[in-house]
Each structure stands twice: as structure tokens, then as C-alpha cells.
């Protein structure tokens, strides 16, 4: 089933690649165009996906469901990339580090806050101050 799932995914993706390759133009053997290589790679990918689909047909899925911790970590990472600009580096990183520490192991709130503040401060000090990385600032100026 995992082979079936991944086979179907890559087959869909290969159709999309073939469509885009045709759109930008294949050219010909005398003068290959921009879509020449993507078309070839997409066609091979489609063929291999079919092999995978055939192998996985009728086989039961043995994969466990996604860990809650991974889903929450990913959600917080995506949220971080969205709020980094409006909230600024210090505030956004403080929240991200706090969530990640909590996901790793539940700790007393005072310890969580202390560790979060320390990591945020050190990362700002090392990268922002010492290495001069220009981080986004919030309305608070940090």
C-alpha cells in the first residue's frame, strides 16, 4: 500500500512534469529545447511509478500513522516562517523554541521559560550581533 500510495503520487507528479515540459517546448534532436530533459526525466519517472503501483497493488499498508509530535513540530515550523517577518526574529524564535522544547519533553514552566529565553538570547547574540545577520524586527524594535 505504501508503494501504491507513493507510486500514485509520483505518477501524478510525472504527468504534471510532462505537461510543463511540453508547455516550455521540447525542441527536437537537432536543437533540444528547454523542456527536453524534464520531459525525458518525467517520462522515465512515469514508467517507474507504474512499476511501483503494480508492485504495491493489493498489498496492505504497514506504516504507522504520523506521530503527533512530528505534526505539531512541522506546524510550528511552517507557522514560524509565516510570522517571522511580522513578529520579528526574537519574538517568533522565542515561541518556536518554547514549543519545540515542550514537544521534546514536558518540563516545569519556569524551566521551559528559562531555557527558551536562554536559547533565543544566545542565537540572537551569536547570529544577530556577532555574525551580523540582519534579522526581521517587530514593531517593538527587536
Amino acid at each position: 500500500m505504501s508503494e501504491l500510495k507513493s507510486g500514485l503520487f509520483f505518477f501524478g507528479l510525472s504527468l504534471f512534469i510532462l505537461w510543463e515540459a511540453l508547455r516550455v517546448g521540447l525542441g527536437n534532436f537537432y536543437a533540444p529545447g528547454s523542456g527536453f530533459l524534464p520531459f525525458g526525466a518525467g517520462a522515465v519517472l512515469a514508467g517507474l511509478s507504474l512499476v511501483l503501483i503494480r508492485k504495491g497493488w493489493g498489498v496492505r499498508d504497514t506504516l504507522k500513522s504520523h506521530s503527533r509530535r512530528v505534526i505539531l513540530a512541522l506546524a510550528s515550523l511552517f507557522a514560524y516562517s509565516l510570522v517571522l517577518e511580522p513578529l520579528g526574529f526574537v519574538v517568533a524564535t522565542f515561541f518556536l523554541v518554547g514549543i519545540l522544547f515542550h514537544l521534546g519533553k514536558p518540563r516545569p514552566w519556569w524551566m521551559l521559560l528559562g531555557m527558551t529565553a536562554l536559547v533565543t538570547f544566545l542565537s540572537y547574540l551569536v547570529f544577530g550581533v556577532l555574525l551580523h545577520v540582519y534579522f526581521p524586527r517587530s514593531f517593538l524594535g527587536i
Binding site: 509520483f10 524534464p38 511501483l52 513540530a73 518556536l96 545577520v133
Partner: protein
Amino acid sequence: METLQSLAYGFSVFLQPTNLLYCFFGVLMGTLVGVLPGLGPAAAISLLLPTIFHAPAVSSMIMLSGICYGAMYGGSTTSILLNIPGEVASVVTCIDGYQMALKGRAGPALGIAAFGSFFAGTFGVIGLMVLAPTLANFALRFGPPEYFSLALMSMTLVTYVGKGPLVRGLMMVCLGLVMSTVGMDPISSRTRFTFGIPALLDGFGIVYVTMGLFGLSEVLSNLSQSLEKVTFTTTDTRVRNLLPNRQDWKDSALPIARGTLIGFFLGLLPGMGAALTTFMSYAIEKRFSKHPEKFGTGAIEGVAGPESANNAASSGTFIPLLSLGIPANPSTSILLGALLILGLQPGPMLISSRPDLFWGLVASMYVGNVMLVVLNLPLIGLWVQVLKIPYSILYVLIVIFCEIGAYSVNSSVTDVLLMNIFGLVGYMMKRYKFEAAPLMLALVLGPMLEKSLRRSLMLSHGSAAIFFTRPISVVFLLIAAFFLFSPLFTREKIGKKAIEMQED
């Protein structure tokens, strides 16, 4: 004589305080990632990739290379003392190394691992010094058809020796090739697969792709299991008498020599990597041994051979990278990416156009190997303490480092988002048993492969015969075809046992 003069020049470049410092930092980081399971050299190099924007090219390459060969040293310490391989290349060392430690012979095991590694590493550097310029001169005869065939052969080999079925590896190569075409077509200037997103006009950035696929995905995979499993408790790690006795030296001399040769020559081949050479070395030592029954119960040959092999292989992989611009494993793929980021053109002209970089790097490897022996033997206790850092803290630091690293390259939040997307992609790939290495290799070699394919076809007026009528190209294509189609006839990969052991 010319080589010695060039080496002297290399030392004059390297022996500047900045380069020494970068080398030290590189081997230190290498040892650290070698010690820490769940963080490989590819991930560590990708984490440090953003720093090269703030450093000179030679210093950057010295540091990143130091991680590659430094990781091989660090891995042996925890394998021997704690039965925890920090690196896949150190898995074999656990078998006899840990047994030696249980018998109170951790000192000689660590000693022989370090001396074997030093010998093999130094041999590898001498090989690099002699072979790379020769190979680069030979590669000057290469035209577009040869480069196309060479890239194709490299991708096939990496796929062949990779974990899992060939089909999945080939799918990743195809995906990597398509990803390499994203952005502006260098020949026609048409945009491909950009969908109006300005950040994709220059194609996918190597920094955030590698950080996502190797760094972040590794953390996410570890998060999906109980973090206690990746937290370690140390046992008695007090080590006495690091010097092997006379019998140990006698037993280890030939395994070190054989391991060095196996590692070095197999390391030259794309895809072989250090891990596979250690399994081959172990298998050969067991076969050559007069007492094979002792293997697995603490035979010093089982430590000496594989440890020499992985270090020699680590140096060997630099030869195709620096002379042909062909990476042999994920770590050197990222190094190739680093060369491109630094504005250098990897290939046969690199050595003659930037002798400071090549010879400076060679010189740094000599000194780096000495630094590693000094770092690894007296500081064993310190490295074992590093394992006491709980993974629930370590992973947060790795994630933050990835996020800041991705942002710092272009000060772009979009890069952070893209890195997170690639982290998710890498995690899903691990979950569905697709390897990132063939994808990464295809992504890095894709532009070269496309350019040489299109140029070859233009040169031959559309005839594919150009690839089959030039001898060097034919040889590369035959090798590629052999590895691609041999599983159809033999029903299994050649060296399947070694590959399976690597997977376990």
C-alpha cells in the same frame, strides 16, 4: 618534484592563522557529528553551509572538508566504548570494538582505530595529491558527450549502491533532474517550473534544499520515535593504556594496509561511500584471517581494517570531486554545491585555475589528520560526555540552526519556508523509504548533464551516436548499463550482502 613544490605552496596557503582555525573548527565539528548519532556529516555540512558566505573560499572548503573526514574519526569512539555508532561508517567497528571494550581492551581498540585512521587518512591525502592532477589532465580531453556519460554513470552507481530497490533510487534521480531544471534555462533563457514565484527564478538553492532534506528531515524522523531511544547513558568509559601492544600491531598491520587500499580505491567510485567500504573490509579480513571464529568476540583486525577503510575512502572521494567535479556521496555533493556557491567551477580546470584552493586543501588534510589524532585520543572522555546532552535539547538547537542558516543566506523568509517544505519532503521520503542521496546528486549534476546532453546533440546534428562512438564516453555508458541492468539478470545486486549489512 613539481608535486612537492605545489605541496609546499599549499602549506604556505594553509599555514595562515585563519585557515588553521577553520581547519580546527571543521575537524572538531566532524568529530562531534561523528560522535553524535542522528546527525551525519552531510547534515552537519549543510548546517554550516551558510557560514561560507562570510569566509574566504579556501578557508570555507578547508572547514567543510574537515567535517567529512573528521566524522570518520569521531564515529569510532562511541562505537568502541558504548556500542553506539555515531556514523553508518562506524557500525562495523561496534562488532569487535565493543567486545574489546567489554574485555577491558578499549584502549588498544581506540588506539589502533586512531592510528589506522591516521595512516589511511594520510595515504588517502597522498593519493589525492598524486592522482587528482593526473585525472584532471586526463579529463581535459573530455567534451560534452564524455561529461554527459560520466554524469549518467555517477548517478547510476549512486543509485545502485543505495539502500532499497533500484526503482526507487532511479525515481529520485529523475526527480532530482527535474528539480535541477527549475528556473531560467541557461541556453534559451525561458523560465521553467517557476509558476511566477520570483524565488524560483534562480532554481532551488542548494543550502535550503540540503538543510531541509538532510538536517531537518533527520530531526523530524527522530522526533517520530521515542526521544529516549536517541538519548544515551554512558557506562564505564575510563580508558587506560591507549597504546596497542606488539601482538596488536602485528595483527593489525596487514588489515590496516588492506583496509586503506580497499577504502581508497572504492572511495573513488561514485556511490561507494565510506560505509560500504567498511563492510567490505570486514568481510575480507574475516576471510583472510587464520582464526575467523574470533571475529565478533573482540578481534583487533575487525577494528583496524574497517576504521582504516572508512578514512581512506573519505579522502578518496575528494579525487573525483576536485578533478572531475563529480561528487561520490551526499557529503561531497554538498561540497560541490559549496564550490558553486563560492563562484568556482568544479572540473578539470579547478586545480590549475585555483591552485591555492586545491593545494591548500591537500595541506590542510595532512594537518587535519594530525589534529584529529590529538583531538580524539586524549579527549575521549569529553566526547563521551557529549552523548549525555539529552536529544530533547539537542534537536531544538539543530532546528534553530537550520532556520537561521536558511534565512541568513539571502535574508529571505521565503528560503525559510522552502527549507521547511524540503524538511517535510525529506521526512516523507524517509517514511516511504526513498533516499535523498540520488536526488541530491541529480540536483547538483543536473545542470552539467543537461548542458552536455544538449550541446552533444547540437554538435552531432541530432545523432545520439555521438555518445557511442567516442571511446571514453562508451566506457562510462557501458559501466552505467552494467550496473543498471545487472539486477535483471543476477536477480540481486552485486555486493548485496555488504549493502544489506549497511542497511541494517
